[in-house]
Each structure stands twice: as C-alpha cells, then as structure tokens.
Symmetry: C2
Subunit: 128 residues, 2 copies
DNA sequence: CTCTGTGCAAAGCGTTTGCAAACGA
DNA sequence: TCGTTTGCAAACGCTTTGCACAGAG
C-alpha cells in the first residue's frame, strides 16, 4: 500500500498532518462525506476548520487523489482513487458498497465515438 | 408520444401551464439544468419564479417523471424518464449525449446480492 | 527565508420555506 | 368550494473567499 505522504509529494502538495489524516480517514472509511470526515478529524484536530476540509478536498479532487461519488438525495461521498469500480448505492440511506469489474460486473462498449476517460457505473438498490 | 397532460394526471398532479411548459422544454432539450430551464420558461412566463421551478422539479423527481443527471463540476441536468440509457458526458463542458443499451453498450451483472432498482452508467470523455 | 497551508470570520450563492393570492378540478 | 400551485421575500445552509498567522521545505 502506497504511503500517503508520497502521494502528496507526487502532486507537489505539502505534507501536513491535517492532509495525512484526511487521507487516512477516507481510506479507512472507504466512502465518506464532508460532515463525517469533519467529525472524525475533530478527534485528532479539535481546532480544524471546515474551510480547510473544503480546500483540501478540492485539491485532492483536482489532483485525482480522491474521487467524488454523487448520490441522489445525499451529500457527495469521497473515496481514494485506486481502481475504477462500480458502486452499489442504497437509494434509501445512501450507503455505498464497492463492486468489482470483472467477475461481478462487466461493461461492453462498441462503436462509441469519442475518447473514454472514465466510466462511472452506479447500481441503485436497497440495503435497509 | 404520451401527452404531457396525462403524465401529470397519472401522478395526481394538477395540470398547470407552467408544469406543461417545463415538461415540454425538458423533453425538447433532452438534457437541461435549472438555469437554462428558467431562461427558457421566462420567454413564456415572464413572472415565473425560481421557487416554482424548484418545487416542480422536486415533484417531478419524486414522481419519477424526470430523472436527474449528476455531472461533476456542473449543475445537475434533468431529462424526461423514458428508458434507462447510458450517457456520454463531456468532462470539460458538461454536455450530455445519450447512448443506447444494447448494440452500443451492455452491462452484465452476476452474483450481485441485493435488488437492483436502477442502473446509472456514465461514460466520461471529451467533446470539446 | 519563502511560499503554501491553516483557521477564523464574513461573504456568496443556490435552494428551500412561509405566506397570501390565484388557480385547477 | 377546497385543496393545490404560484410568486414573492426572507431564511437557510453549504461552500467559498480574504486575511493574518503558522508551518513546511
């Protein structure tokens, strides 16, 4: 598993304890929204401000260190960018479960004009 | 093509000129965000208010008359619910092109625990 | 030492709410 | 007539911005 520190350095972002902890929490939780992230960070940094979170989340997204998951009727969640994978999202509670391309889910695309940068496949169901 | 009026009636929503025009514009434009919708509606209803749009869009979504397309770094767009289909979304300008399940794109799902309500497949590329 | 990052307070902006009047059934 | 919808204004809440100080390199 890649060191969080080196990920920041690769993108020429300064290594701060706040950033490292943000990344650690996102990686541990798998999928987390701003508010949950804030609560978790408060434990370690009681003085941390929401604007720091927003600024860093913005930079992480710009640098594709994390990826944004849009969930209808819920706040966006974030995950560490690793491999592309589909999500199973609960329409009720917004819970996200990772699926796998390959054995579980496969997508076949033919005759598509235009370069593909990224595929987002969300399957909505109910886990409640 | 189904009458817009009867769609509203099916959902026990009152038929108002504002609603009919909203649906007409969304159907014509294919994919449209709140602001573009507002501008278009202003032509026909100079006094229409944004809150009317928000209220109706909310109701259309609740009743699944329209569907929401989340586009990173752009405002959500809306389309009339018809068949499920994948979208090709330009990462730069947010433009949306409809694709087809079947010949163009197919998804195979195996061993997935949990009922599937809905599948959203967005392919990101560049049209600029 | 220099430049970036942090925290705070305030501003900004899209969206929602409350209410009276208008309208649809 | 009765319940719903509309438009307006105000409230709301999330996100962004400006700035001074702190911290990383």
């Amino acid at each position: 598993m890649k060191l969080l520190m080196s990920i920041l350095k690769e993108h020429k972002l300064k290594v701060t304890p706040q950033r490292l902890t943000m990344m650690k929490i996102i990686r541990e939780k798998g999928h987390i929204d701003i508010d949950q992230l804030y609560v978790n960070l408060k434990n370690e940094f009681p003085a941390i401000s929401l604007s720091t979170l927003y600024k860093n989340v913005g930079q992480f997204l710009d640098n594709e260190i994390i990826r944004e998951i849009a969930i209808p009727n819920h706040k966006n969640k974030y995950e560490i960018s690793f491999d592309e994978h589909p999500h199973f999202i609960c329409s009720e509670c917004g819970n996200v479960r990772d699926l796998k391309f390959g054995d579980e889910v496969s997508v076949k695309i033919q005759n598509l004009t235009g370069e593909i940068k990224n595929i987002s496949l969300n399957i909505y169901g109910n886990c409640c």
